[in-house]
C-alpha cells in the first residue's frame, strides 16, 4: 500500500494521480475576483496587530504604549521554538496595547497592539541574506522565524519548524490548489509573482534537499499553472502538477494522498511519510524575508461576494480592520438586510462577529455574500441516516455516527469513531439533506473532550499528591510507634532495676532520652503533616510541582524552632516549681535548668533540646513507674506534680506571651502562622498541647478547698499515670488501625481512648469513695478529650486550607 518514491515518480511521469475518498463539488465562483491584478490599498489609520497569529506560543511584547514603531519592526519576541514574532506593518505610534476582538469564530478578545499609522512608512533597518547558499542553514531558518512567517494556507503552523525537519524529505509539495470556492488570492499571487514564489521554493529546497518538488495547482487555474510552469522550467526537479478540481483537494492530507497515495498517520505529521508541504503564499513570504529582509507584514486577501461592488484581491497590511477592506471593495452596505461577513472561504471560513476584526497572517479571503447568495441556515431536521455525509467525507469517517455520538455526548464512542481525524472541511454538512450543522457538533465535541482531558490530568496530579501524602503519613505513624516501643522498653528496663533509686531513675531517663533523640530525628518530617503543601516533596512523581518546597522547608524549620522554644520555656517553669518540693527530681531538674538557659539558641541545638525534653518527661513519667513499688511515694509525687503544674500554668501563661513574641520573631517568613500557636499547628504541637492542657484542667480541680482537692489531685495523678502507661501499650497495638483519612486523629486516638480504659480498670482496685473521685476525674478527662478533638478538627481545617492554597500555587 505504501507507494515508494520510484512508483510515485513513474505515475507522475505518466500524468497519473491518485484520488482521495469523498469530496464535493461546490460551485467555484472564482471568476468574481480573479480577473484583476492584486491592488495595493491605502494604509488604514489604525492597525490592530494580534500578538499571536499562528499555532503555538505567543511572544512577549517588545513595545509599550506611546512607542514609535517603524515599518517591519518586531513587536513581540520569544525564545520558544513554537513562536514567531509579529511586526509593525507600517510606521506610527503604539496607541494602545490590550485585548481586541480576534480573528476567530468566537471573536473573543485577545492581546493586540493598536498602531496609529503615519504617512511616512519609515522602514526599520532590514537585513537581507542575498548569498543564502553560502550561509549555514540554521541562519536561514532563523531569518525565516524572525520574519514572522507561519503557514499562510490556513493553519498558521510556524514555517521555520517545517523548514528544519529531523527526517529525510522525499517530496516538497507546494500547495497552490486553493480548493475553496470564491478564493483567488493564491491564484493571483501565482499569476503575478510566480518568479518570487520560485525563489522561495529555491530557498526551501536548499534547506530541505527534497528528492522532488511538486507544485500542485487545481485545473481550474490554467493561468496560474502556466505561470508556474514558466517560472520553474529550468529545474527538472520541479514539477508543476495540475490536479482535478474537487473540494477539499487542497487539504494537506488529501493533497498528499492525491500526489503520493501516502496517508499521513492518524496522529502523525506529513514528514512521517517523507513529505513537507508549504503554501505558495508562504514561499513568497520566505523569498521576501531572505532576499529583502522584509518580515511578513502584508498578505493577499480576496475581497469577494456579491455584496462587494468591486470584488478583487488586495495587499492588505496585517492588522487592517475589516471595515477598511469593506471600503476598499465598495461594500454595498445599504443593500444588505442581514449583514454577513465571512473570513475565509464559504466551506471552512467563519462569520466574523463584527467588522473590527483585523486581518491576520492566515486571512486569505473576506467573503461578503448577498442575502440570496448564501442563505441563512434553515432549521436542523432529524438525521435520516442517508449517509451522504459518509460518501462526502475525505477522511472516510462516518459523520452520521460521529453526529449521533457527539449529540448524545458519548464522547468515548465518538473518539472510537476517530472524531479527531475529522479535518472540519465541511463536506459532510455541505451535502446533508437535513441541514444539520455537523461540523459545529464535532467542534463542540472536540472542545469538550479537550476540556475533559485537561480536567482529568489535573485530577491525576492531585491524586498523585494525595497518595504520596498518605504514604508518608503511614510511614511517620510507623516511625512514631517504633519510637514509643523503644521508650517503653527502656522504661521497663529501668523499672526492673531498683526503682526507688534516684540514680537509677536518672539512668532510665537517659535511656529514654536516647530513645527520644532517635525519634526526634524524625520530628521534622512529622511536622510536615501539618503542611500538606509539602506532601508532594516526598513523592518522586510530583517533585516538579513543588517549586517552592525550599521556602516552605525553611519556614517550617523556623516554626519548629519556635515550638521547641515554647515547649522548653514551659517545661522549665514546671521544673522550677518542682524543685522546691521534691528532692527526688533534683537532678533532672538541674538539667532542666540548664535547658532554660539555653532556650534562646534552641533553634540551633536540637540535640540538647531533645535531651532536655526527655529528662523533663522523667519528672512526669517516672511516677507511674513507682506506683507499684510504693504507694506513699506515689501520693507525694502526685502532690508535688500537681503543685508544680499549678505553678506551671501561671508561669506558662506568662511565658506563653513571651514565647509568642519569640515565635513571631522566628517566623518572619510566615506571618500568618501562630500568634495562637496551639491551635494552628496540629502535628508539631501535640506534645506541647497535651502538657499545657493537663495542668490547666488539673489546676482548676485543685482550686477547690483542701482535703478533697488533694485527694482528687492524687486520684487524678494516678489516673493520668495509668493512662499514659496504657497509652503507650495501646500505641503499639494500634498499628493496624490507620486508614489514611484518620491518620491524624489516630495519633490522638490511642491517648484519648486509653484515658477511658484505665478508669474502668482502676474501679476494681479502688474503694467506693475513690470511685466517685474516679468519676469526677473521668468527666474531666472526657472534657479534656473533647477539647482536644475540637482542637484537632480545627487543626485539620487549617491544614486543609493551607494544602488547598498550596495546590493552587502548584497550578500556577
Amino acid at each position: 500500500m505504501y507507494s515508494d518514491y520510484d512508483h510515485i515518480l513513474q505515475r507522475l511521469n505518466q500524468g497519473r494521480l491518485w484520488d482521495f475518498h469523498g469530496g464535493v463539488h461546490p460551485p467555484q465562483l472564482k471568476s468574481l475576483s480573479n480577473k484583476k491584478a492584486i491592488e495595493t490599498i491605502t494604509m488604514p489609520k489604525t492597525l490592530h496587530v494580534m500578538a499571536k497569529q499562528h499555532i503555538g506560543v505567543e511572544g512577549s511584547l517588545l513595545v509599550k504604549e506611546g512607542d514609535r514603531v517603524l515599518k517591519g519592526q518586531p513587536l513581540t519576541h520569544s525564545t520558544n521554538p513554537f513562536s514567531v514574532p509579529v511586526h509593525a506593518p507600517t510606521s506610527g505610534y503604539v496607541r494602545h496595547i490590550g485585548p481586541h476582538v480576534s480573528a476567530h469564530p468566537s471573536g473573543l478578545p485577545e492581546l493586540a497592539v493598536e498602531i496609529s499609522t503615519d504617512e511616512f512608512e519609515t522602514w526599520a533597518p532590514l537585513e537581507p541574506i542575498l548569498d543564502y547558499q553560502q550561509k549555514p542553514k540554521s541562519k536561514i531558518v532563523e531569518a525565516i522565524c524572525n520574519a514572522g512567517i507561519s503557514g499562510m494556507g490556513g493553519a498558521g503552523f510556524p514555517t521555520h519548524i517545517k523548514s528544519s525537519p529531523k527526517k529525510n524529505v522525499e517530496f516538497l509539495i507546494i500547495n497552490g490548489v486553493e480548493c475553496e470556492p470564491y478564493i483567488t488570492s493564491d491564484d493571483r499571487l501565482m499569476r503575478e509573482h510566480a518568479w518570487q514564489i520560485r525563489q522561495g521554493i529555491d530557498i526551501l529546497v536548499h534547506l530541505l534537499s527534497p528528492k522532488l518538488v511538486i507544485i500542485a495547482i487545481e485545473d481550474n487555474k490554467p493561468e496560474a499553472i502556466e505561470a508556474m510552469q514558466v517560472a520553474c522550467q529550468e529545474n527538472a526537479k520541479y514539477r508543476v502538477v495540475s490536479i482535478p478540481t474537487k473540494y477539499p483537494a487542497g487539504g494537506e492530507k488529501q493533497l498528499i494522498q492525491i500526489l503520493t497515495n501516502r496517508e499521513v498517520p492518524g496522529n502523525g505529521l506529513p514528514i512521517d511519510v517523507g513529505v513537507i508541504m508549504q503554501n505558495v503564499g508562504t514561499c513568497f513570504a520566505i523569498a521576501d524575508a531572505i532576499f529583502t529582509g522584509t518580515p511578513l507584514i502584508r498578505r493577499v486577501v480576496t475581497l469577494t461576494g456579491q455584496a462587494f461592488k468591486r470584488p478583487q484581491n488586495v495587499w492588505a497590511p496585517i492588522g487592517t480592520p475589516l471595515s477598511h477592506l469593506l471600503e476598499v471593495g465598495h461594500y454595498k452596505a445599504h443593500k444588505q438586510r442581514d449583514r454577513k461577513l465571512i473570513m475565509g472561504g464559504p466551506m471552512m471560513g467563519f462569520e466574523t462577529i463584527n467588522d473590527d476584526v483585523p486581518v491576520v497572517k492566515i486571512t486569505n479571503c473576506i467573503l461578503a455574500p448577498s442575502a440570496s447568495e448564501i442563505q441563512a441556515p434553515s432549521a436542523e431536521q432529524p438525521c435520516i441516516r442517508c449517509s451522504a455525509c459518509a460518501d462526502a467525507c475525505p477522511a472516510s469517517l462516518l459523520p452520521q455516527q460521529l453526529f449521533w455520538h457527539s449529540q448524545a455526548k458519548e464522547y468515548e464512542k465518538a473518539q472510537e469513531q476517530n472524531l479527531f481525524d475529522c479535518i472540519e472541511c465541511g463536506a459532510c454538512a455541505y451535502v446533508c439533506p437535513s441541514e444539520i450543522p455537523l461540523v459545529h457538533y464535532y467542534r463542540v465535541a472536540k472542545a469538550d473532550i479537550r476540556t475533559q482531558e485537561q480536567e482529568k490530568a489535573q485530577a491525576d496530579k492531585a491524586r498523585l499528591r494525595f497518595e504520596a501524602r498518605k504514604e508518608r503519613l503511614e510511614r511517620e505513624q510507623k516511625e512514631r510507634e517504633e519510637k514509643h516501643a523503644k521508650a517503653a522498653a527502656a522504661r521497663k528496663k529501668a523499672m526492673s532495676e531498683k526503682g526507688n533509686d534516684a540514680k537509677d531513675k536518672i539512668a532510665a531517663a537517659l535511656a529514654r532520652a536516647k530513645a527520644k533523640k532517635q525519634g526526634n530525628t524524625a520530628a521534622p518530617t512529622s511536622q510536615e503533616s501539618a503542611q500538606p503543601s509539602n506532601a508532594s516533596v516526598d513523592s518522586p512523581q510530583a517533585q516538579q510541582i513543588n517549586s517552592d518546597s525550599k521556602q516552605t522547608e525553611t519556614s517550617k524549620q523556623d516554626k519548629v524552632a519556635a515550638a521547641i522554644a515554647r515547649a522548653k520555656a514551659k517545661r522549665a517553669a514546671a521544673k522550677e516549681a518542682a524543685t522546691k518540693e521534691t528532692s527526688e527530681t533534683a537532678k533532672p531538674e538541674q538539667a532542666a535548668a540548664t535547658a532554660t538557659s539555653k532556650t534562646d539558641n534552641s533553634a540551633v541545638d536540637d540535640k540538647s533540646d531533645s535531651d532536655k525534653s526527655n529528662s523533663d518527661k522523667t519528672a512526669t513519667e517516672t511516677p507511674p513507674a513507682k506506683v507499684q513499688s510504693s504507694k506513699q511515694e506515689k501520693v507525694s509525687i502526685a502532690i508535688a506534680k500537681a503543685k508544680a503544674k499549678r505553678e506551671a500554668i501561671k508561669k506558662a501563661q506568662q511565658s506563653q506571651s513571651a514565647d509568642s513574641e519569640n515565635a513571631e520573631s522566628a517566623q518572619t517568613d510566615k506571618p500568618q502562622v501562630d500568634t495562637q500557636p496551639n491551635e494552628n499547628k496540629p502535628g508539631e504541637n501535640q506534645p506541647v498541647d497535651s502538657k499545657q492542657e493537663q495542668p490547666q484542667t488539673d489546676g482548676s480541680s485543685e482550686e477547690k478547698p483542701d482535703p478533697t482537692a488533694k485527694q482528687k489531685a492524687i486520684a487524678a495523678a494516678i489516673a493520668k499515670a495509668k493512662a499514659k502507661k496504657l497509652a503507650k501499650a495501646n500505641a503499639s497495638e494500634n498499628e493496624s488501625a490507620k486508614t489514611q483519612s484518620s491518620t491524624e486523629q489516630d495519633n490522638k486516638a490511642p491517648e484519648t481512648a486509653s484515658k477511658k480504659a484505665p478508669t474502668g480498670q482502676q474501679g476494681e482496685k479502688l474503694t467506693a469513695a475513690q470511685i466517685r473521685k474516679q468519676k469526677v476525674e473521668a468527666a474531666v478527662a472526657k472534657a479534656r478529650e473533647q477539647n482536644r478533638i475540637a482542637k484537632l478538627k480545627r487543626a485539620e481545617k487549617a491544614a486543609k486550607k493551607s494544602s488547598s492554597s498550596a495546590a493552587d500555587k502548584d497550578e500556577n
Binding site: E351, L398, Y430, S434
Partner: protein, 364 residues
C-alpha cells in the same frame, strides 16, 4: 455593526430531505400506474386513505410530543410510508385494514421510537407484517388481473368494494376473484406454492392462466415498472446501488443454485425477480435509509441478506411472499452490520499503526 452567526460551511447542497422523499414517490408513479392498470383502482384509493390517516396520526403525535408537525409533514417521509402500505396490501382489502396499518406504522413503529431517523424498523413493512398476522384472510385476498377477471371493475366498483365489501353491481370479493373459467384465482406465488405442495412440478403448475411464459400475468409488468422507477432513483442519486445489487444478487444466486439442482421443484431466478413485490422491495423498501445500514459494505451485506431471506421464505416458508419479513429480519441486524463494516479512516492503515507506535516510543 455585528452579524448573525452560523457555523461553516456556509454553502449547502440544495437537496433537502423533503425533496429526497418526493423524488422517491415520483419514481413510484410508474409502478402505481401499472398496478392500477392490472388490479384496479384499489391501490390508489388505499393510498388516499393511508395518506390521510398517516398525516393525521403524525400530526397528532407530534402535537402530543410538543414538536412542530408542519416541518415533519413537509419532509414527506410519512407519505412515502403511506405509499408503501397502499401498494403492498391487496386492492380489495377493506378500508380499515389500511387505517389500522397506517396508524400502527406511524404511531408505534415510527413515533414511539423517536420519529424520523430513530425507527429501527421500516414502518410500512412492520405494519404489513402486523396486518398479515392479524388479518390473514383480508390480507391474502389479492385481486386478479383485470384481463382475467369475469367482472372488470370501474373506479366506483373499487371504491365500493373497499368500503362495503361489494362492488357497485353487488358482487362480492369472492365473485370478483373468480376467473372467467369459474375458478378462484390466486397470485402466481400462491398458485405455485399450492401446486408444488400438491406434488406438481413447476412446469405443470405454470400451465394455469395466471402464468404467461413462466411469469405471472400482470406481475411482471408491475415489477418492471418499479425497476424503471428504481433505475431513475439511482440515476438521480437518491439511492445508492449497493442494496439493490445486493438484494438482486442474493435472490438470484440462491434461486439459480436451486434451479440448477432441480428445476422441477424450484422456480427460475427470473420468476423470483419479477414476482410479488420484489422490485418494489429492491428499490423502494429496502433502500429506506433510516432502517438500513449506513456503510457501503454493510449495504451489500444487508441487500444480500434480504434477497436470501426472501427466497428462503418463499420456497420453504409458510408465506407466499416475504419481502416484509426479510426486510424486518435484516433491520434487526443493522447495528451489528454497521459496527463491523466501518470503513478505515484516513491515516489508519495497518502500517500506520506501526509508524504511530514507533513514534510514540521515540517520544517516550
Amino acid at each position: 455593526m455585528s452579524f448573525k452567526f452560523a457555523s461553516s460551511p456556509h454553502q449547502r447542497v440544495k437537496r433537502t430531505t423533503g425533496q429526497v422523499m418526493r423524488l422517491v414517490m415520483y419514481a413510484g408513479i410508474p409502478g402505481l400506474a401499472v398496478q392500477t392498470w392490472f388490479f384496479g383502482w384499489g391501490a390508489l384509493i388505499h393510498f388516499l386513505i393511508a395518506s390521510i390517516t398517516i398525516i393525521v396520526t403524525e400530526a397528532a403525535i407530534l402535537e402530543m410530543r410538543k414538536k412542530n408537525f408542519e416541518v415533519a409533514i413537509k419532509d414527506c417521509s410519512a407519505l412515502v410510508t403511506a405509499f408503501l402500505i397502499a401498494v403492498s396490501i391487496p386492492p380489495f382489502a377493506p378500508w380499515w385494514i389500511t387505517v389500522i396499518g397506517s396508524i400502527f406504522a406511524i404511531a408505534i413503529v415510527k413515533q414511539l421510537y423517536g420519529g424520523l431517523g430513530f425507527n429501527l424498523f421500516n414502518p410500512a413493512m412492520a405494519a404489513y407484517v402486523m396486518l398479515l398476522i392479524s388479518f390473514p384472510v383480508q390480507m391474502s385476498t389479492w385481486a386478479i388481473p383485470q384481463a382475467l377477471s369475469q367482472f372488470p371493475q370501474s373506479f366506483s366498483d373499487s371504491f365500493s368494494i373497499i368500503f362495503s365489501g361489494f362492488s357497485a353491481d353487488g358482487y362480492s370479493i369472492e365473485q370478483l376473484r373468480t376467473h372467467v373459467d369459474g375458478y378462484t384465482m390466486a397470485t402466481p406465488l400462491d398458485a405455485l406454492k399450492t401446486s408444488i405442495s400438491q406434488g406438481l412440478t413447476v412446469q405443470e403448475s405454470m400451465q394455469t392462466s395466471v402464468f404467461n411464459n413462466g411469469l405471472g400475468v400482470g406481475w411482471f409488468w408491475v415489477n418492471f415498472a418499479y425497476l424503471l422507477g428504481g433505475l431513475l432513483l439511482l440515476k438521480l442519486n437518491v439511492i445508492k446501488w449497493h442494496i439493490p445489487v445486493g438484494m438482486i444478487a442474493g435472490i438470484s444466486i440462491l434461486s439459480l443454485m436451486m434451479y440448477l439442482v432441480d428445476d422441477g421443484i424450484y422456480a427460475s431466478p427470473m420468476f423470483h425477480l419479477f414476482s410479488g413485490g420484489f422490485m418494489l422491495g429492491v428499490f423502494f423498501i429496502a433502500t429506506d435509509p433510516v432502517s438500513a445500514t449506513t456503510t457501503n459494505k454493510g449495504r451489500i451485506i444487508f441487500g444480500l441478506g434480504i434477497g436470501a431471506w426472501v427466497y428462503i421464505i418463499r420456497t420453504w416458508g409458510g408465506y407466499p411472499d416475504a419481502i416484509a419479513f426479510a426486510v424486518l429480519i435484516m433491520n434487526m441486524g443493522v447495528p451489528l452490520i454497521d459496527y463491523y463494516t466501518r470503513p478505515r479512516t484516513y491515516g489508519h492503515r495497518t502500517e500506520h499503526k506501526n509508524v504511530i507506535k514507533v513514534k510514540q516510543i521515540d517520544e517516550d
